[in-house]
Symmetry: C2
Subunit: 107 residues, 2 copies
Amino acid sequence: MANKDYSIRQEQLARFAKAMGHPARIAILQFLAKQETCYFGDIHEELPIAKATVSQHLKELKEAGLIQGEVESPKVKYCINRDNWQLAKELFGNFLDQCLCEKKRCC
Amino acid sequence: MANKDYSIRQEQLARFAKAMGHPARIAILQFLAKQETCYFGDIHEELPIAKATVSQHLKELKEAGLIQGEVESPKVKYCINRDNWQLAKELFGNFLDQCLCEKKRCC
DNA sequence: AATTATGTTCGTATATTTGCGAACAAAAGA
DNA sequence: TCTTTTGTTCGCAAATATACGAACATAATT
């Protein structure tokens, strides 16, 4: 009889995906990915939303492990979390590559 | 002065990511990805949730364009949407690869 | 014409997400 | 010490998401 629980990898992948599931957070990640300097203010400037909302999105990305923050008073410097970014690459890569739909037809 | 709106690609990536942002939907996609036969009942059997909930998750995946369904009365056959799966691969691939964090240090 | 098998939709309850302004916190500068 | 700069947190409102059982729909079977 099958174990119907979700696997750790499925949970982790879903957690990353969920964190990426909002255009503002995609934009933030994309901005951080190609910057070296990455202060809150710079991020806020790029986005069409209030600073309280930006802060909230950053918090979610941090909790998902995709970014990290560092206080450089009075500013706060954010950046990609390298280890977890790498993990996300592997999880998404494997996930998206495991589809047989290019080889065999289902529908 | 910068255009603060989200790009089409960012919106699309977020839409895919959001659809993948739940372990049940990851499990469904993973199951479909490696199957040729893919009836609703088979999917439901794999998951620890009620059929009404499974149906709802399938609807979301369909609306996101990641899967498609086909009635084969009295069953319903689901499968990966090949074109959009390919698009997702490209979008996630480019997105995850554009990070400089392996080359330069930010934090 | 009933019955069965297979899924979907409806109605509902609860929880989470998204967004904002206002208030707050902390450290630097006047 | 008062002020300024920079972000975070709080409190709230509105919208979405998650989950389920019950009711419904549809076509095949008896």
